[in-house]
């Protein structure tokens, strides 16, 4: 881990540029594909379009104090101008892990935030780290409601793979015995603040259909596989020098490198997948060096696409051949369609009068979680919408950032500014968005980027189901705060753009039928059997849970299947 020579040692190009497997992308799912394929003995090439980020060494802001940043972590007007999308999520401490919007433009047919991190580790360096399992409530929903297509898998298919990845990742959380939010293999849970604990007990008292639990998060509450533990700095998005949270850089890529089977090539942009019509197989990928723009072809018997939901669809749409004029493996005409994200921005907050002598120590990198409680069974069925949402919440004392606008100035003002304020509970929902055929990404036929590749065009909007849910999100949050004794309750509904949850999903969905879906139940392309896709694009529905854990489990499962097919000579 963190071996400074790692990057150089990894560059071993075999004769004729031929490997057993190629993985496109080194983010959270690409990292898993690399680890699994390498550990199963396959010589694996991992291609990353961005620069190399060496674990620890390249976390240049990790140990900086706030006063060492020129703008004390604020973004400048220039940031907002040049990076109008990325600057909504980065700050001076994490900016280096997000792309420049200027260098990497895309077309927003309707407003959509496409947040990207082009580097080794991708967005696994800056992810929110919340980890929740899906259940059959999610896997059966499309079938039961006649929406889009049925998932080709059920919970029993993925459950052992959740166990498998959780055991490696290290996720802190508390078992709650909920059927629709299954428990995982947890490290010790983090503690609640006293107001959260109070809220949790009162919610159980007043509502028999919902619970409050501590966030399930990929931060290590004890040392795990030579990583961590978490130091409770809550500076995760700068990269963690203690390996306190899970990222490709801290965990999966070092494991892959340790096998001696991985070749990792940063600065390598995959422009298309090469298809051999005779063999009806993909034979490799065409790659452009990000700096010299030199083109090189690499070959392998298995190809995993883990470039992230939008980019994976773009690569497929850009890979045209006589057999697949609309994009590789696109006989279903579903590639690029059914784009989903979780909707954000609605919720409520309230003030609690009490616990004035209580405080907390350290900066916990998670909040609390209120799992979905709508449309679980007949008793919780809604007339106005299908599916549901989960709240992420936190109860803490008001601190200077929100207290600075008190009236007055001088000694009294200063004292107030520097003393912990009243307890505030804040809750916001992550809601399920349905897969709509018209929410899609396309390639522009004229406009190109700096590498001559067609610009991605995104067309995305929310519909009535999400709008109805947003209303309930505010009303329910407000009701819960009222019932549990909070005061000065305010609901909010910020107009946050699609994409802001950074949970893009669905552009190459799984399904039973090659006519209506792109991938089968093992994330294998219906049309081209040696291509596997296990990033967010495979998702048949979005569920309301944060999705990365599911990508990881699906990746490990798909690798297991792919290697067994490889060994049987079927690929």
């Amino acid at each position: 881990m963190g071996d400074p020579k790692q990057a150089n040692q990894n560059i071993r190009i075999p004769p004729q540029n031929t490997f057993d497997a190629i993985v496109v992308g080194s983010g959270i799912s690409g990292g898993w594909a690399a680890k699994e394929l390498c550990e199963k003995g396959l010589k694996t090439l991992v291609l990353e379009r961005g620069r190399n980020i060496e674990h620890v060494k390249d976390y240049t802001t990790a140990f900086m104090h706030p006063w060492q940043f020129p703008h004390r972590l604020n973004n400048t007007l220039k940031d907002q101008e040049e990076n109008p999308v990325q600057s909504t999520v980065y700050n001076e401490g994490s900016k280096q892990f997000f792309v420049s919007d200027k260098e990497h433009p895309y077309i927003q047919e309707k407003p959509f935030s496409w947040i990207r991190g082009y580097q080794v580790g991708g967005r696994s360096l800056t992810w929110g780290r919340q980890c929740y399992r899906l259940s059959d409530l999610d896997f059966e929903a499309n079938l039961k409601e006649g929406i889009a297509v049925d998932w080709p898998i059920r919970y029993r298919d993925i459950s052992p793979w959740y166990d498998y990845v959780e055991n490696f990742v290290g996720i802190s959380g508390k078992p709650e015995g909920l059927a629709h939010l299954p428990d995982g293999q947890f490290l010790p849970p983090m503690e609640m603040t006293c107001v959260e604990d109070y809220f949790s007990k009162k919610v159980r008292e007043h509502f028999n259909d919902r619970i409050v639990t501590i966030g399930r998060i990929a931060n290590l509450t004890k040392g795990w596989k030579g990583r961590g533990p978490c130091q409770f700095r809550n500076l995760c998005d700068r990269g963690c020098p203690f390996s306190g949270y899970f990222s490709s850089n801290a965990a999966t890529l070092p494991a892959a490198a340790a096998t001696g089977n991985m070749t990792l090539l940063p600065d390598s942009i995959v422009i298309e997948v090469i298809f051999d019509e005779q063999k009806n197989k993909a034979t490799g990928v065409r790659v452009m060096d990000a700096h010299t723009k030199k083109i090189t072809e690499y070959f392998a018997r298995i190809i995993f696409l883990n470039a992230s939901t939008v980019a994976t669809a773009a690569i497929l749409l850009n890979s045209v051949s006589r057999k697949f004029p609309n994009g590789l493996g696109n006989t279903s005409n579903q590639i690029g369609h059914n784009l989903m994200d979780h909707f954000l921005g609605a919720g409520a907050q309230g003030v609690f009068d009490g616990f004035n002598d209580e405080y907390y120590y350290g900066r916990r990198p998670t909040g609390i979680y209120i799992p979905r409680f709508r449309n679980i069974n007949d008793a919780t069925k809604r007339k106005d919408y299908v599916r549901g949402f989960g709240y992420q919440a936190s109860g803490s004392r008001m601190e200077w950032g929100s207290q600075s606008q008190f009236n007055g100035f001088g000694t009294d003002y200063k004292k107030k500014l520097l003393t912990p304020g009243p307890w505030v509970m804040w809750m916001m929902a992550w809601g399920e968005t349905l897969p709509y055929f018209d929410n899609r990404i396309m390639l522009d036929t004229d406009k190109k980027d700096g590498w001559g590749l067609p610009l991605v065009k995104i067309n995305f909007e929310y519909h009535d189901n999400e709008k109805a849910m947003r209303k309930d999100v505010q009303e329910s949050a407000s009701e819960m705060l009222h019932q549990t004794g909070f005061k000065n309750i305010e609901t909010f509904d910020y107009n946050i753009l699609g994409g802001s949850a950074v949970h893009e999903m669905g552009t190459a969905r799984m399904g039973h039928d090659p006519k209506t879906s792109v991938l089968n139940g093992f994330n294998q392309m219906h049309d081209v059997k040696n291509i596997f896709i296990t990033d967010g694009s495979c998702m048949t529905s979005a569920a309301s849970q944060n999705p990365s854990l599911t990508y990881m489990a699906l990746t490990a499962r798909a690798c297991d299947y792919a290697v067994s097919e490889f060994k049987k000579g079927n690929l």
Binding site: H71, R72, L77, K78, E196, G362, R363, G401, K414
Partner: protein, 191 residues
């Protein structure tokens, strides 16, 4: 107060006349800001910040170097209308001190300084709720609101403010969800 009343009436009664009323003002607030002047008033800004956060048993804004931070923030991170209102506000405050006390702000007694800030605080108050938000959006934040929020942010994120005014934990190492407040407990600084 007259300005606030006027703006309030326009926003409430006839959105259409915003342009007529404020054509000149909008130009004034969108003009290229007088950065040279801003940079030349470091001592004034330091004295203003110190009046908001004075030295007590912990350092004040001046020792924390908040003046530098305010200038940087107004230059780099403050939207143009608020930027102009801040710089114009500084000029107005200088005129106010000169006509009221025949002194510069720095030469004023503590009481005169407080009286001056009180005057500008009162003038800079925005309306509550939605009207205030609209006002800030269309016309920029008031001089006093910008001064105060940059002073508080600058102090709380400075080394002196974070480590001596607040409690700063660089590497907490553990998390305790609920514990009794210590005697004289200060708020935790951000990271």
């Amino acid at each position: 107060m007259n300005r606030r009343k006027a703006i309030g009436r326009i926003l409430i009664i006839s959105g259409g006349s915003i342009a007529a009323y404020s054509g000149y003002k909008l130009w004034d607030w969108n003009k290229s800001p007088d950065i040279k002047y801003l940079e030349s008033r470091k001592e004034l800004i330091a004295a203003l910040a110190e009046t908001i956060i004075p030295a007590t048993d912990s350092p004040g804004a001046k020792e924390a170097g908040v003046d530098e931070f305010i200038i940087t923030m107004v230059k780099d991170c403050t939207e143009i209308k608020s930027q102009n209102k801040f710089i114009d506000g500084l000029k107005e405050l200088e005129r106010y001190c000169s006509s009221s006390f025949s002194k510069t702000f720095q030469q004023c007694t503590l009481q005169q300084q407080q009286q001056t800030l009180k005057h500008f605080e009162e003038r800079g108050k925005s309306y509550d709720g939605i009207i205030g938000k609209v006002e800030n959006k269309f016309f920029g934040k008031s001089f006093f609101a910008t001064l105060k929020s940059h002073t508080a942010d600058g102090y709380c994120t400075s080394e002196a403010g974070a480590t001596k005014g607040l409690s700063y934990l660089f590497i907490p190492g553990k998390y305790i969800g609920c514990m009794p407040m210590q005697q004289g407990q200060k708020t935790w600084a951000i990271h």
